[in-house]
């Protein structure tokens, strides 16, 4: 079976008014089916750009991006991924149910099938009685759940998320993290998740991709030896192994690589 995502030798240069901005250089990344991978790094290091390349919302300057063995472009046309941003981006004039139904309607699914699928999705993300509400009647956390349900509507095997919990309070955030792991396990979808929170990346991921800026590149990939993501629960947050992984990611972020490599080694 082909990888969910294969990024090979990707550079991304933006031509802006002030000149050229090198957002990414020589990025290579594989994401296996069902794998949870987080991208972490200081702001401006190209996390969103990498995610948007996978989503075919941008095209690479050099290199290739493949999703399930086809080009990112074809994968987008075939709706092979679902996407969620920091802003839920719900249409305020549509109810929760109608927002979730949007991608299904656009692809011409018959009305009765749409209704059945929307009911499933509402149950999956735990929005029970809120199908008839409008987005401005929901809390930020609930809006984000609607956005996740919408991203999952077409049963994609890849979920792309750009700081989806970035604007939420800590309690809601931790709750939704556990919910996301359950949903990812139930659907079997691979997830590429952008965050700037180390504990969030550690708690969620099979592997944490640490990026560094100027120019944006992958500095290190840190595997999380914390057991399968589907079986993680809140007690992990107080476990010693969790703190070890947080330390490992932090050191990779700060360019030390202390545990992994002797000092003075070039920090790729």
């Amino acid at each position: 079976m082909s990888n969910a995502v294969t990024v090979t030798g990707v550079d991304k240069v933006f031509d802006s008014g002030a000149g050229q901005v090198v957002a990414l250089t020589e990025v290579a990344l594989d994401v296996a089916p069902g794998e949870f991978v987080s991208l972490i790094g200081p702001s401006g290091c190209g996390k969103s750009t990498l995610l948007r390349l996978i989503a075919d919302l941008e095209s690479p300057t050099n290199g290739t991006v493949e999703v399930f063995g086809t080009s990112a472009h074809q994968a987008r046309l075939d709706q092979r991924y679902g996407i969620a941003f920091q802003q839920a981006g719900l249409l305020p004039w549509r109810t929760v149910a109608a927002n979730i139904a949007l991608p299904l309607e656009l692809s011409g699914m018959p009305k009765s099938d749409v209704r059945a699928r929307v009911d499933e999705l509402i149950a999956l993300v735990g929005l029970g009685d809120f199908g008839d509400r409008f987005p401005d009647q929901l809390s930020g956390g609930m809006q984000q759940r609607v956005a996740i349900a919408r991203a999952l509507a077409k049963k994609p095997q890849l979920l792309l998320m750009d700081e989806p919990f970035g604007a939420l309070d800590e309690m809601t955030r931790e709750y939704l993290q556990t919910e996301l792991l359950r949903i990812a396990a139930e659907t079997g979808a691979a997830v590429v998740f952008v965050t700037h929170s180390i504990p969030e990346a550690v708690y969620l991921s099979d592997r944490v991709v640490v990026m560094s800026p100027r120019p944006g590149r992958i500095a290190e990939v840190v595997p999380m030896s914390l057991g399968s993501t589907g079986s993680r629960a809140d007690d992990l947050r107080e476990d010693g192994s969790f703190f070890e992984m947080i330390t490992a990611v932090r050191e990779a972020l700060h360019g030390g690589g202390v545990a992994a490599a002797p000092r003075g080694v070039e920090n790729r």
């Binding site: 989503a55 919302l57 987008r76 046309l77 709706q79 991924y81 679902g82 996407i83 941003f85 802003q87 839920a88 981006g89 249409l91 004039w93 949007l102 991608p103 656009l106 692809s107 409008f134 401005d136 009647q137 809390s139 930020g140 809006q143 604007a167």
Partner: protein, 266 residues
């Protein structure tokens, strides 16, 4: 984003929030006070009756000429309504064309700017002559030109207000251009259009009224105001002015209600 309320409370000009009853009572009380002072002033003979007739005299005229007042409001109101509907439809159509094609946008923008600065009622004598002395067409045309401008401008603006996150989602759904138009661009623009229609409603009434001052068939409110004033029947002229204000207010309130309703549920 985390609000639980369905609509935001309207806030007054001073930023205070007031409930519906309070907001209605304040202008009514002010109106009563002003009319009271006016009546007292007219009673003292300080102001000549032909300059400013007393409210009571005006009310007498309204009662006496009620049927003529209703039919006159009907004539002027119909002209304004035809103009408002035609001008709005034209404004929406032109804004849609401008938003889908850059060359058209470049062509339409200066034309609309020119239309906006022409005192449109200045066209009244010309149009009245063009369409003949017994036709309302010239007046309706003037009202529609007046309505066109604000509806075009607000709609054109509304069509550019789609949020980037909505556009990107539609791209991720591989939506067609028409699907994007139908599901996000148009619903985003609708409240803007209705704001334009509310602004246009007053302009349409004023233009339809004033156009009657420049000849054409009599019987509308504007014509009756000018002929009453010409025959020195000042209380009657004022009575028709009151009817004109009521007509303008009716147009404004109805379009305001439409705007409110539409922006709550697109």
């Amino acid at each position: 984003m985390a609000t639980l309320t369905r609509t935001r409370p309207p806030s007054g000009p001073l930023g205070r929030t007031a409930n519906g009853a309070e907001r209605a009572i304040a202008p009514v009380v002010l109106g009563i006070i002003v009319v009271g002072i006016w009546q007292l002033l007219a009673g003292t003979g300080l102001v000549e009756a032909y300059l400013l007739p007393s409210p009571a005299a005006i009310v007498d005229e309204i009662v006496e000429f009620w049927p003529s007042m209703v039919s006159a409001a009907g004539i002027t109101g119909l002209n304004a309504l035809v103009g408002l509907v035609a001008g709005s439809l034209l404004g929406i159509a032109a804004a849609l064309v401008a938003s889908t094609s850059r060359p058209f946008d470049g062509m339409l923008a200066p034309i609309v700017a020119a239309l906006a600065v022409i005192p449109i009622v200045a066209l009244a004598p010309v149009l009245n002559t063009m369409f003949g002395a017994d036709s309302q067409t010239g007046r309706q045309l003037i009202a529609s030109l007046a309505a066109f401008v604000p509806v075009f401008i607000t709609t054109a603006r509304g069509l550019r207000q789609t949020q980037p996150v909505h556009r990107e989602l539609m791209t991720s759904f591989a939506a067609t251009r028409w699907q994007v138009m139908r599901t996000i661009t148009l619903p985003t623009a609708v409240p803007y259009t209705f704001t334009g229609i509310r602004l246009a409603s007053s302009l349409a009434v004023i233009s339809a009224l004033v156009a009657e001052y420049f000849g054409g068939p009599r019987g509308g409110l504007g014509g009756l105001i000018s002929s009453s004033a010409a025959s020195s029947a000042y209380p009657r002229a004022w009575a028709y002015v009151v009817a004109a204000i009521a007509l303008g207010l009716a147009f404004y309130l109805i379009t305001l209600a439409l705007e409110r309703w539409v922006s709550r549920r697109r």
